[in-house]
């Protein structure tokens, strides 16, 4: 590269900085729009597809595949349909791979609370960065973003959000102790507050803990009736809002645990045969449950994304043509304005090819800088979106 030409190019650009800035901005915008859209679509596609690929099968109540996928994989859609945890226990007995239940109805400062089992962490390869896995009722493990959003560290406590402030008979908020924090893995797991299934059932009001009514006397009004076999307590008995070592034994469920609800089961079959058998077993006309392949749902969703992208691309072609036309006009005007300067170079014996190189290098420089700038902006937007969605 001729350093002297570069020098002349640089002096010209810096002297005419206003014109150069407009030109650079036009070129950057022209390159940015399609580059940014293509890159972000690719990143979105990659991340959403990756999650689906790592979640081979998903069991849930028959209904919307899309809602089930969004709920089971991304903890986004609050689905009402649930089924008994027995279905999961039956699945475990089939011994066709690893599976983990999912149930999620509550939030803690808008972070989804996900009831699951320890199998989930193993199957997803989630590792702790601090603390321990939950071992007792009322303990939780936080995703990295959830921990930073809640400002929680192991040993501290977080509260679940009340279901409805005006719904007095609804589930009470529960104070949960943070047992550990997961390493960041840039998936929806970063946002979740993971609890054991039983803790989630307590959040749902299906189980609770309170004073030992058998030890209370009738004088304080908390006991309405007492027989040899049963004790009827009044509403003055307040359930515990926190589970700790002293009261955890008092927590109990007023239903058979096999009947308690879950909303989905993630399955990692041990081989293709197991997957095929499971699909055959669950996807029958008479069954209440459906077994879906999340990747199929995601693929059909991505088709729509790409259709929208194709439409946007067409727009960008038009926009690019108009901005490109503007840039070409600026170039031609610039060449006309510089006619005198090039005439001077001619008079000084400069070769035609050198003048051509000078113009090409100048435009090449603009294009390279515009390309770098558009990529920097694209990556900044990606970071911004990642930060907004996943906390960095």
């Amino acid at each position: 590269m001729n350093r002297q030409i570069l020098f002349l190019v640089w002096r010209y650009i810096s002297f005419h900085w206003g014109k150069s800035t407009i030109l650079l901005a036009s070129l950057t915008l022209t390159i940015l729009m399609p580059t940014c859209l293509a890159h972000l679509t690719r990143v979105f596609e990659q991340s959403i597809r990756e999650r689906a690929v790592t979640s081979p099968l998903l069991l849930g109540v028959k209904g919307s595949d899309y809602d089930l996928t969004m709920h089971g994989l991304y903890f986004r859609s609050g689905i009402q349909d649930h089924f008994a945890v027995k279905a999961w226990h039956d699945l475990l007995n089939k011994n066709r791979g690893v599976s983990a239940p999912i149930t999620s109805h509550f939030t803690a400062q808008s972070q989804p609370i996900v009831g699951t089992s320890l199998e989930y962490f193993e199957a997803r390869n989630l590792r702790l960065s601090q603390g321990k896995m939950f071992r007792h009722l009322g303990q939780c493990v936080l995703g990295a973003k959830a921990a930073s959003q809640l400002g929680a560290t192991p040993g501290t406590s977080i509260m679940s959000d009340p279901e409805n402030v005006f719904h007095l008979a609804g589930a009470y908020p529960l104070k949960m102790q943070v047992a550990g924090i997961l390493e960041r893995n840039h998936t929806p797991d970063d946002e979740a507050v993971f609890v054991d299934l039983k803790t989630h059932w307590i959040l749902e009001g299906l189980g609770h803990g309170h004073e030992d009514v058998t030890a209370l006397d009738e004088s304080n009004g908390k006991i309405l009736d007492r027989t040899e076999k049963t004790v009827t307590a009044s509403s003055a008995i307040i359930p515990y809002l926190e589970i700790n070592e002293s009261n955890q034994d008092s927590f109990h469920f007023h239903a058979e645990q096999e009947t308690l609800p879950i909303t989905a089961v993630l399955i990692w079959p041990k081989d293709t045969k197991s997957a095929t058998l499971l699909l055959g077993e669950y996807n029958t006309a008479s069954g209440e449950l459906q077994l879906i392949k999340p990747i199929d749902v995601v693929e059909s969703m991505l088709k729509w994304v790409f259709r929208v992208k194709a439409f946007m691309d067409a727009n960008f072609v038009l926009a690019g043509l108009s901005v490109g036309g503007m840039a070409a006009m600026i170039l031609l005007l610039s060449l006309r304005l510089r006619k005198e300067e090039f005439q001077t170079f001619n008079c000084l014996g400069c070769s035609r090819t050198l003048i051509l190189r000078l113009v090409l290098i100048e435009w090449g420089l603009f294009l390279v800088v515009a390309w770098i700038l558009s990529w920097m902006i694209t990556l900044a937007i990606e970071r911004l979106i990642q930060y907004a969605l996943l906390g960095g």
Partner: protein, 229 residues
Amino acid sequence: MEIHIENLKFAWPHSDFRLEIPRLNIGSGQSIAIVGPSGSGKSTFLNLLAGMLPPLSGNLRIHGASLSGMSDHQRRAFRQDNIGFVFQDFKLVDYLNVTDNILTPWRLKESGASIDKPMRDRLEHLITQLGLKPFIHRPIQRLSQGEQQRVAIARALCLKPGLILADEPTGNLDPSNKTLVRDLLKQEASQLKATLVMVTHDRDLVDRFDRVIDFATFQPKQPLTTPAS
């Protein structure tokens, strides 16, 4: 650098202007003043010598090289290597400061070589000789006409040319500066042992030149045939 001209003819297309020089020899190291009425072809003659215009016919040899037989590319290379030109309208580059304008001929060389020590010394010498030191970093637009003229002269002398062509370099100057610029050109040409050909309207300046050529004598009686006509 000696110049030999024989039957040199030039005409602009679609114009009555024509220049015809039957014979002209200029010796190496001579200083020549060219005078003549406006439109007599003085500037055109300098452009022919510089290879910026190709002659219609005839022979033009500078230092043994025939410009008439050269391609445009060869004439440019010859001009860059051998000729320093002081233009009537200066032709300075607006986005370069004084120093960079002087160094333009070096920067426009195909080699793209860095400014070396001899070139820096040459630059320093020209800046000192032409009194440009106080404004070496100043933009060209902020210089007076006289100052711009001196920058144009420094640029022409930058690569130590064997032939210096000056097209009315004193046209925009006051009388004292006219003499100063003429003497500077003469002095630099003498130091470089270069041939100096200067066009001027000012007959008061020609006394110190080796020869004075009046271009009124080169007006042909018959119109020339041009390629376009």
